[in-house]
């Protein structure tokens, strides 16, 4: 049998064919599991008119002292038409996301979605379910003019599946088959985004193992969902982790 591998040599190679107008899902939550290297490569690759699906558009340099690649950079680079996310502004109104000023000025569109709904819409897309009902956002301005239905005396809001063209992921460990394993809170949106996507690209933190290097019981995301894997090189070439957030005790 010939040796097949999903490992590719560079981040540029991984994102080479991302087309203008694509819907891109970006994994990660508050820094953990963020595909920083693939995001940077996508900024350099330059695909335009993108719809980005992400939890938050990125905190900018204020939150952790340094700015790592985030969706805000794609916005600043003029590549983004619309963002579908759970935050168009920071939790604290005094923190200003780079994205917010573009949004407020009408230079980019956004769809604000409750976080559980956001991930369930991708789970549905990855599970062959076209729509579902959820109690989240019922009675809020997000539900105005939209279809609701009452089940067992409670009102639910109709939400549609959110299919993805390309998912950018970060994982801890991979094998050549594309099986992935995440570490701690790095998992977050990553497996679900891959399952919703036609093409899933993963940056990984350890050397890529031969197929079988991750026991079948220990695979978090089966390789059938993952198309390309890139090993993150050492710093400064590779981007690793955000510094710890300052904590008030």
């Amino acid at each position: 049998m010939t040796t097949r591998t999903k490992q590719v040599a560079s981040f540029a190679d991984a994102v080479r064919d991302v087309a203008d107008g694509s819907t891109i899902a970006v994994g990660g939550f508050a820094g953990a599991g963020m595909p920083y290297n693939l995001l940077k490569a996508l900024v350099e690759q330059g695909a335009k008119n993108l719809t980005i699906v992400v939890n938050s558009t990125g905190g900018g340099p204020g939150m952790r002292g340094v700015r790592l690649p985030d969706v805000g950079m794609l916005v600043e680079n003029g590549q983004v038409k619309k963002v579908i996310c759970a935050f168009t502004a920071a939790t604290r109104p005094s923190d200003v996301l780079p994205f917010t000023k573009y949004y407020e000025a009408g230079q980019v569109d956004a769809e604000l979605v409750p976080q559980g709904t956001l991930v369930e819409r991708m789970r549905a897309a990855g599970a062959g379910v076209p729509a579902f009902y959820t109690p989240a956002a019922v009675g809020t301005e997000l539900a105005e003019g939209r279809e609701t239905r009452t089940f067992n005396g409670r009102e639910y809001l109709l939400e549609y599946a959110l299919p993805i063209d390309v998912a950018l992921l970060r994982a801890h460990r991979a094998d050549t088959f594309g099986n992935l394993r995440f570490r701690r809170a790095q998992r977050n949106f990553n497996p679900v985004m891959a399952m919703a996507a036609k093409l899933a690209l993963a940056e990984v933190e350890e050397d890529v193992l031969p197929a079988g290097g991750i026991d079948a019981d220990d695979v978090h995301l089966p390789g059938i969902y993952v198309h390309r894997v890139v090993r993150i090189p050492p710093e400064p070439e590779g981007i690793w982790h955000a510094p710890p957030r300052e904590v008030k005790r």
């Binding site: 939550f29 953990a32 976080q115 009675g139 701690r184 977050n188 710890p244």
Partner: protein, 224 residues
Amino acid sequence: MSEGRGLSRQQMADRLALEFQDGWIVNLGVGMPTLCSNTDIGERQVIYHSENGVIGYGPLAEPGHEDPHLINAGGQNVTLRPGAAIVHHADSFAIIRSGRIDVTVLGAYEVACNGDFANWKVKGAKGGGIGGAMDLAACAKNVFVVLEHNTRDGAPRLLRECALPVTARGVATLVVTNLGLFRPKGEAFEMLEIAPGYSVEEVRAATGCPLIAADTVPPVRMAG
């Protein structure tokens, strides 16, 4: 706030944490709610759930011992308690929507006596930050709200009706402010406990809706 009057941020969080029952699954919002995990609740043990899929996290990591992969919903580096488990985001919100969270503690800009509250959008903004708050507020068994009693300009935050867009309707079960502990009762807030240094009349004047208070309101119960 003048010296010795009212509750500190930690005392507000402490008062809500005293309501946590043994075995509860607890989800703490970003900001003041995270302070609840500092409270000494004696022999009772709760399981902290974080929306990013961490079930059973423990205290904040010591400086220099942070694990970059291990954070709570506020992005703080935390530790795991024995018995902790990790799930992905869809499963984390399955836990939330299926009603397994006994209590969520959330910050807010406004809360109304009918149980509505608002915490995702400020006045005049085009967008906002919802995060997991709408899912949590709609589905947790108890929704505790923590907020300052008044804005910096002195306007009340406890209202008959929220002026800001709401996060969920009719869900708040307990409210703590720097002035005391309150329960939404539909047409009014019931004042359960009062903060040191305040009179009921002062609290009533600082509140934007009717306040039900007994002749003698007990002081806010303190932790420890």
